[in-house]
Amino acid sequence: MKALSLYQDNGTLIHRVDPISKLLYIAAAIFIPVVLTGFTAGLAMLGLSLMLLVLARVLRKVVPLIGFSMLVLISVVIIQGLFYAGNRQVMFALGGVHFYREGLLFSAAICVRVLNILCAFALLVLTTRPSDLIESLVRQGLSPHFGYVLSSVLQIIPQMTGTMETITDAQRSRGMETEGSLMVRLRAFLPLIGPVVMNSLVSTRERSLALEVRAFSSRAQKTFLNEERVSTSNRVIKIVLLAAMAAAVAWRVVS
């Protein structure tokens, strides 16, 4: 069974950067363009993220990750290009409808902002094993109980989808209709999810008991099976990112 994850194990340099540095990178990628305003900073950060994604050899995997947002962005460009409240100047006409300069600029800013954030996150998500991320966070002070909850979700979802496939097949073979009018499909919903849901809720009791006997509620200082990776390069990355954010603030204050 595989845990839910988008992690691509390519073993590049980027993969060896510690998860906390990557989180800090996301913070910087969001923070710097907000402070500096305007297109350039956002575009520069986006360019940097894309470059890092290429270095990590995961650029192609970004596409499914941002697919849905891309669709929304296209509709944003169309709707704002046509109807943005500040629209004055026609930029071009397409089949009789007018696209306005103001609306297109407004939507372009949205696109840069969203893509910038998405790509920064993609860098974390595609190059970090979720369990490593969670463990790093727990070492940094996240409650181990929350750490448990996060790792447990990543295991429980593939299990539930597995059970779900079995149930769907069983219900179909018993003649339940899953296609047809909206009413038919709505009525199919509860019998389909009911058993998986009940099952997962009822097993929470035994799971809790199992955790209790394994000293889950213990207040002892938790230890880790895996060794902590500490390296100077990771410290340098963090310092550079913090410095960049400080520099952005300074720039904004001065100019």
């Binding site: 069974m1 845990a3 369990s131 181990p144 448990y148 790792s151 447990s152 295991q155 429980i156 299990q159 097993s203 035994e206 799971r207 809790s208 008991l209 199992a210 955790l211 209790e212 006997v213 394994r214 000293a215 889950f216 509620s217 213990s218 207040r219 002892a220 200082q221 938790k222 230890t223 880790f224 099976l225 060794e227």
Partner: protein, 281 residues
């Protein structure tokens, strides 16, 4: 040295009317191997959970009497504190997985991480527990990809790695074939010989007769008998409690063969063989 002292223990689960445990009292010495038998719903699992504090801390409900483990009064001690002394392996191996670890090796580490065992100490403990239960090969597997029997071995190993003084096993071989059950019993016996106190619920009477020092018979939440396997299995009212004595004892009973010194039926194949040979001479 008394490891466990139970006095007048009574317990009722929430929302139920009947007592699951009714006035149970007994004492267990350090290093003993205790077998618990009784028909379905007799209260065996409830008693196991009372030794670990899950009854009453986890379930709440109504509780009376006292359970003392290694000098600690269970009703006043937290479960995580008791988890340092008592290990509990549940009946169902499928729901005993922590559900947050990707490999069997990490799964075994889960309890040790929670207890704060230093990393250097963790690995030898995990490895020896895996070796004892014969699951070294599966170290890198995902816990959910194991068969029922392998999962059961992993569940036992996870508890053994925590190095408890007392291990309580609730039907630990239900998913194992005869060969596998025998291996697990041997492993547990090895721990018992090293001084670990073992308490095991089991339906396989032949195994109970062979491995336990004493057998506890429960029925309807009451302690019916607590004595050597020979005495308990020589009772003539066993059927009334839904128990069938080990096959060798039944054969000897049918033939009227008793061990002359005690007047009780032989329990194991070897004893039975000796007595049958004597009887023919």
């Amino acid at each position: 040295m008394k490891k466990i002292v139970v006095e007048g223990l009574k317990y009722r689960y929430p929302l139920t009317a009947e007592l699951a445990l009714n006035d149970v009292s007994f004492e267990i010495e350090k290093g003993e191997f205790i077998g618990i038998i009784g028909r379905n719903l007799a209260g065996k699992s409830t008693l196991c959970q009372a030794l670990m504090g899950l009854v009453p801390h986890f379930y709440k409900g109504a509780y009376g009497g006292s359970v003392t483990v290694d000098g600690l009064n269970v009703a006043q001690t937290e479960i995580c504190e008791l988890a340092r002394k008592v290990g509990l392996v549940f009946q169902n191996p499928f729901t005993q997985v922590s559900g947050s670890k990707m490999t069997v090796y990490e799964e075994l580490a889960f309890g040790l991480e929670n207890l704060g065992v230093p990393r250097a100490e963790m690995m030898p403990r995990i490895e020896s527990a895996m070796a004892l239960l014969g699951i070294e090969r599966f170290g890198k597997r995902n816990p959910f990809d194991l068969s029922g029997g392998q999962m059961q071995r992993m569940a036992i190993a996870s508890v053994i790695a925590m190095a408890p003084d007392i291990i309580v096993l609730d039907e630990p071989t239900s998913q194992l074939d005869p060969q596998g059950s025998e291996e697990v019993f041997q492993a547990i016996q090895a721990l018992s010989r090293q001084g670990m106190t073992v308490i095991m619920v089991e339906h396989k009477m032949e195994k109970i007769a062979r491995y336990s020092d004493r057998v506890m018979l429960l029925d309807h939440g009451r302690l019916v008998d607590f004595d050597t396997p020979e005495r308990v299995f020589s009772r003539d009212d066993l059927a009334q409690y839904g128990i069938a004595a080990p096959i060798f004892a039944r054969i000897c009973q049918g033939l009227g063969i008793r061990t002359p010194q005690t007047g009780l039926y032989p329990m194991t194949l070897d004893d039975a063989y000796d007595q049958v040979v004597n009887w023919h001479e």
